[in-house]
Symmetry: C2
Subunit: 349 residues, 2 copies
Amino acid sequence: MPSRPSRPRLEDVAARARVSTASVSLVLRGRPGPSAATREAVLEAARDLGYRADRTASLLARRRTQLLGVTMDVRSTFHGELLEDLQAAADERGYDVVVSPLTRTRDERRAVESLLDFRCEALLLLGPRLPDAELAALAEEHHVVAIGRRARAAGVDVVRAADDVGVGLAVEHLVGLGHRDIAFVDGPRGPISTLRRQGYRHALKRLGLADAADVAAGGDDEESGVAAAESLRTREAPLRMPSAVVAFNDRVALGLLDRLRRDGLDVPGDVAVVGYDDSLVARLATVDLTSVSQAPEAMAVAAVEAATQRLDGGRTEAVDVVLEPHLVVRGTTAPRGDHATRGDGTREG
Amino acid sequence: MPSRPSRPRLEDVAARARVSTASVSLVLRGRPGPSAATREAVLEAARDLGYRADRTASLLARRRTQLLGVTMDVRSTFHGELLEDLQAAADERGYDVVVSPLTRTRDERRAVESLLDFRCEALLLLGPRLPDAELAALAEEHHVVAIGRRARAAGVDVVRAADDVGVGLAVEHLVGLGHRDIAFVDGPRGPISTLRRQGYRHALKRLGLADAADVAAGGDDEESGVAAAESLRTREAPLRMPSAVVAFNDRVALGLLDRLRRDGLDVPGDVAVVGYDDSLVARLATVDLTSVSQAPEAMAVAAVEAATQRLDGGRTEAVDVVLEPHLVVRGTTAPRGDHATRGDGTREG
DNA sequence: TCGTAATCTTAAAGCGCTTTAAATCGCCGC
DNA sequence: GCGGCGATTTAAAGCGCTTTAAGATTACGA
């Protein structure tokens, strides 16, 4: 039941403090000018009245909105986490965030439109799927930051993690544990998979294990993981069941884990598994998956930074920020020794 | 790189169409008045100029904002789903949604403040944790709808599912499959658990199995499920390992599943498991968990409906909408017969 | 004591759109 | 040919806040 007496306006505060609305405006926004006496009077009046500025009006009056628009997939917990960090980073810089969720009935284009209606000053797109050309077109009219995806679109700022390096870390970790037969379960067709696969190959080469390269078809979800597990276990002669697997992402790793364990294999005893994304599910005590973190906090900060540099710092050249991922070691990886001593030897070939 | 030539204003459209700004405003919002000729001229001019109304300005001018504010936990996929449906429902009624995420550094109060700053006309709170008193206070000044939680707060509209009925459905399903020893793994202390537990007890009574009531301590996450699985398997004499378990929610069910299977039990062969929420994870092919759905779409529609009824329908009495949940049968439940024929008999007592 | 600079304060002009109240235009009947 | 009426159109007054430019005060040095 909204209050009948409409909320107090700036004018009311001014009247009560016996000063002009200009002074009130200045004081309330902490701008220099008003004397200490005026400040106090205004603050007191505002407090008494329970005054709260009408953002709509102030946005209209000042040319700026100080709003950052974010598009995201609400169903993705990774995006959820990123959003948390974006909020925090924006807060610190005096910006507010408007989120525009993508849903079945609301594609990326629509979500962006909505953000523009709100007059957001910059668009932060989480894992945008818009074609590069469209991103570039958008960037001609607005500030846009693509997060988590490489983009060859003029004028678009990009903030992403070095996926190849990330996979490399995983491989090094496994080799360090004594593993030699390390398979990589691929992701869906696309630039991200390519990069991760490269990371895998290069790491093996670097470690003198180039010959052991073993890439299995995969995908980006649990089912792909299950399928990959099956194919790894039923392969023909020259190929062997690896002692460790690096999966395209955590979901795939999850499918792998599930299937391997149902088949009676012990993880990490018989097979070590590493995921990618360090998603919330990887952190669950029941999953406890070793995974590569894309450092969402750092990405968030970098993205907001990119936006504010354009807005307040006068930057006009697009930037491409590449962050170093890091490995989070948990319970699905262990020294290879374990395998030899308690594995059930369910290998082929 | 935002465009230099500032975006066209209403005035520009008016000039180009050779009519007044009033006419343009009327036409663009589809209000009655302008003649067909005027309409056409305006639409054409607007199209030519690529005109897009400045929401900020129009919000200020008209008294209404047509904005619904939603607070949610971004990490919850259930909230994510709900949000999708809320968006859709709001869209249909000509409202726009502003979402205010809860994060570590941004509690519910803060999130609500933010929504008020945006001048949202109604607050839709997803599973609010604010104490009833605070909800009631908020409701004195604003329209508030609590979603998914019972609230004894004056003036607050509530939209929730009949949890007791939901658990009842699960129990009936299991009994229909021939199960008799059906345990319930409880949730965390609170009204929701109480209601679900009641639903469990009442259903058993109704089916003449009151004596078989078997409530195990639980919680609201995977770990609680693991713990519950352990306790179910190691209990003393008179108690037996049940042939079916209804869990407080899907996460608990997941923990149960994981632990039971690692212990070599077959689900649903040895034990049938039912979750609650019909979350995305329950639907994963690798999980395929029978679960009770709270019908998020229906909740979303009801919530938006509640808000618009107050805003446009003139309703002033609070409503309490209780929706009927439904059971989604998947792969973790099967006739008890299965158990007898292929169970490994790992029971106690 | 007076002029001038420095410091505060404020009147007033918007920001871009909506809306009301009044003006305009046709058209009809007498 | 004129008064009148309904259908359109529009001038103008805001919505609540910011900001600029001018005005008021005070402070100082000469």
